[in-house]
Structures are given as C-alpha cells and as structure tokens.
Amino acid sequence: MTSFQAPAWSVPVLIAAFVIFIGLVIFYVIKSRGIRRPLFAMPYTAWVALFTVIPCLLIAYYAFTDAAGRFTLDNFKSFWDSDYEMNRELIEMGMDPAELGFGRGTVNVDTLVYSLWMALLCTVICLALGYPAAYIMADREFRLGATIVVLFIIPMWMNFLLRTIAWMSLLEDNGLINNFLASIGLPRLRLMYNSGAVLMGMIYNYLPFMVFPIYNVLNKMDLKYSEAAMDLGASPIKTFLKVTLPLSLPGVVSGITMVFMPSVTTFFIPRVLGGGNTEMFGDLIERTFLTANNWNVGSALSLIMMVLILLSLGLLRKVDPEGEGEGML
C-alpha cells in the first residue's frame, strides 16, 4: 500500500492559501482600524487548518477510495460486512462464499457494539464511583479537597502503559493477589484474561476524568441555594435531588464526555488485561491499519467512529446547551 502524497500543485495552492489568509488578516486590520481581539485567534486558525482540517480530509480521502485511489464506497461496506473483501476475493477465485459458510461478516459491527457497551458500563461505574468522591471532596467541612485533587492527578503522570502492566502483575493467576489468597489458604481466582479485567483497567484509567469536572462544578456552586432549600424544610436527600444534583449537571455531562469518548476506542488494555481474547474498536482500527495494512478500510472505520462521537457530542449539547465544556476543566 503506497501512501497518498501531495501532488506537485499542492505547494502553490498552499502558498496561495497562506497569502490569501494573510491578506484577509491585513484587510480586517485596516477595516476595523486596529488590532481587534478576534485577530488573536489567527495563528490558531492557521494551525487548526493545517493540523486538524487537512488530516480529517486525508482520512476522508482514504475512506472513500480504494487501494488504487479510485472513488469507492466499498470501505463502508467492509464496516457493515467484515467479510466483504474476502467474499469478493473468493468470487474472483470462482468460489461461492456461501458454500464455505460465509455470508455477512459481523466482526466489525459486533466489535463496535461491544466497545460501546464496555464504554457505557465504564462511564456508569465511573459516575457511580466518582460522583460521591467529588461530592465529599467539595464538602466545605472536608477541607482536604484541593490536596486530594492533586493525589488524583499524580497517578496520571505515571506512564499509562506501566500502570496497566502493573495491574497485570497483580491480577495474573500467579500474580500478587492470587499468591496472597493462596498464602492464606483461599482458592486462586481467574482475575485476568476476561472482559471484567478490561473494564477494571478502563475504570482505573478514566475515573479521574469523571471526578475533576464534577468536583469543579460542586466546588464553585453557591451554597445559598441548598441552604435555602434546607431552610424551607426540604430533607437533605430532597435538597440533593432537587437542588445540588441539577446544578451539578454540567459537570456530570463533561465527565461523561471525557470518560465515554476515549473509552470507546481503548486499546492496549484489552490486549494486556484481557489476554487479547476480545478486541475493542481501537484494537480493530489498529489491526486494520497496521497488521492488515489496509489504510482504506482503517480510515472508513475511523471516520465512522468520528461521526458517532460528534453525534453523541451534539446529543450531550442538547442536555447541556450552555456547557461548551465549561465545567470540563
């Protein structure tokens, strides 16, 4: 598979685009008589054009072409039917795929569904574990909140791969936990090589991303609302459900975004903790690009992933129209 490279005309086009961009900036400066604030965003605009827009277009290019560079929709068919390319090959060889027992291959779709399901579980559990933690940390009587935030950050500065491998040392059949169990006379447990271990690894990695935004929102929240509710006779539980929880919703939405998005495409964790027994969508994309060396189908899978994520982002916006990720950090 040869890579798609910039044709000769792209250099003058890029230069022209740059000149036009500078021209527009100068025009704007003259028109508004001075450097108005929107101009400060210009370097970033150029950056986004080069490092976000063009790469996305390149992914789209590969997704809509075949190995020879011709337009095709086959790569998307390959998503829906993971056996599509194989069956085409078989027919070319003069065989009937149905005779070999092949119809529509469901591997890619199944992997996506499995990944979404795992990401959903991970998000729900992170929320269940993280909300109380954030609530406690933001409690005015607790006082240690800011320090605990730091203690949450530090593990994230240790290398992600090393952390995951450390879990492997703990969970193996002859690992630390099982050796401990055996030494006190309990039976050894199968803690690894299954989806449960993968889920645990994901929760471990993404939990802080759920805690931070919720903590920030709760921490900034004006206490007078909940105090007023209490004064008016609401029970603590009712105050929480009717006042605190709704007010903390932007933080919850940010937390869900920051946990759900990356966990759909988790890779490496399934391989190390799951023993490579079930792939997630990230592994699938990696295998398609690297092992199968199929950049076209790989790009189509990536594009589908991106669209899905942008769509769910849009949905979340509906829940939290004011958010713009404000509570995110």
Partner: protein, 259 residues
C-alpha cells in the same frame, strides 16, 4: 461518623488508584527480573537506569517535548481563546467545533491522521513532527481552561484600554492576562500532563530513531518490561509528588490546581 465514612470512601478510591503504582515501585527494588517473585532488595535497576543511554535519551525527549508543547500551546491557546471569545456567534461556534474535534477524536485516529499528513507532505517523522502533534492535541485543553475565566471578566475592558491609548500589546498584558492567569496556569499544567503521558499519538508521529518514554516502553512491553523502567517511574513519582504538593500549597488558597 459522617466524617469517618467520607474519609473511608476517599481512602478506598485512592487505594484503588495507588495500588498499581506501589507495585511498580516495589518491583523496582526487586533483585530479580521477574514481576511476580521477590528475590531480595537491590538497587541494581537504578544503577542500570543511569547507565542506559536509550532511557536517558527517551527521558530527554519526553520532558523537552512536554515542556515545549506546554509553552507553545499555552501561548497559542491563550491568544486563541481571547480571540475566539470576542468573535461573532457564527465564527465562534465554528472555531469551538474545530477545537472540540481533536479532544473528542480517539487518540488513535488523531495519531494516524497526523501520520497521513506528514506522509502527504513528505515530511520525515521525528522529534519535530512529534512536537507539532503534541501541540495540536494540547491547544484545545488550554483554550477550554482559559475560556471560563474570560467569561468572568468585563467584556469591554480590552476595547476600553485601547480607547484610552494602550497599544494592543499593552492592553493584552495589562488588562486581559492578569484576569485569565489562573486559567492559563491550569491550561499549561494540563498540556504538560497530557503530553507527558501520551503514547498513541507519539507512536504514529515519530520514527523509531526518536523515542519518548511511552514508545520506548511499548517496544519493551510485549517482552516484559525491564525493572529499569520501574525505577525511572519511582523516581519520577517522588519528584512529581513533591513538586505538585509544593505548587498546590502555593495556589491552594485562591485556586485548586486543576479547576
């Protein structure tokens, strides 16, 4: 009782977060190479660590890239946030969507798309391409941490300063920056953290000649990581813990580190 339950819960969560890190650190003092068997206390891996030029090079690459990416993305991102905030509604919405893309795009897609970009323009991948990639995924986080602070300040103070005779540079330095400083610091910290820990994007945007710690670890991961890397992690852990607690103490009064 409530206080006890609160503490107990937080300690449980922290235990969950720290158990593997403790394992890492204990393994770094193990005389043997095995992950599971304790063969006596030793500092042999620490000695090896300082002798290993590959690890030292990777550490240098990791730290310089994290620092450079944090500085550059903080400058670009802060300016961008100021600019975007002052834009009209339509361009503002467009810019915010474009800013969200790298944040919501899975790392692996970001990495591969940047690799395609470099291949497209026939740029040899290495140190600089990795740096550019890191800046790219850092900027949105800076923008998103500066934005809320901008919303809290007076909308018209920049224009007022200009009308009162400030140059744009002065107005930026004397009026806007002091107001958004906490957001800028947070953004820089976040950018540094993300860059330090990144594996996937680095993997696709560098060549095997220039490795950062993550890609180095990955090339060893499948074989069983040597405890030298654990030794490095242990040292990093202690340094970071001390550094962060100091920073936190200094900023705790007005602003928690990550808000």
């Amino acid at each position: 009782m409530k206080k006890f339950l609160q503490r107990f819960y937080i300690i449980l969560i922290l235990l969950f977060l720290y158990v593997p890190i403790l394992v890492l650190i204990v393994q770094s003092f193990n005389a043997g190479k095995s992950r599971a068997k304790w063969e006596g206390l030793s500092f042999v891996w620490y000695e090896e660590l300082f002798k290993s030029s590959a690890i030292m090079d990777a550490l240098k690459v990791t730290v310089t890239i994290a620092l450079l990416a944090a500085v550059i993305s903080t400058v670009l991102g802060t300016l961008a946030a100021i600019g975007i905030y002052a834009m009209k509604k339509r361009p503002q919405a467009l810019m915010m969507t474009l800013t969200n893309i790298p944040m919501t795009m899975p790392d692996i897609v970001t990495g591969i798309s940047l690799m395609l970009l470099y291949l497209f323009f026939r740029v040899d991948r290495g140190y600089w391409t990795m740096l550019l990639a890191h800046i790219t995924f850092d900027i949105p986080y800076v923008i998103l941490s500066v934005m809320p602070k901008l919303k809290q300040m007076n909308k018209f103070s920049y224009e007022a300063a200009l009308d009162l005779g400030c140059t744009p540079g002065q107005a930026l330095r004397k009026v806007i920056l002091p107001a958004v400083k906490p957001g800028v610091v947070t953004g820089a910290m976040l950018a540094f953290t993300l860059s330090l820990d990144d594996f996937t994007i680095s993997y696709f945007t560098t060549s095997p000649l220039v490795q950062n710690l993550s890609t180095l670890i990955y090339s060893q991961a499948r074989k069983g990581i040597k405890p030298t890397l654990n030794a490095l992690s242990a040292l990093m852990f202690i340094t970071l813990l001390v550094l962060l607690l100091i920073v936190n103490r200094r900023t705790a009064d007005n602003h928690p580190v990550k808000s």
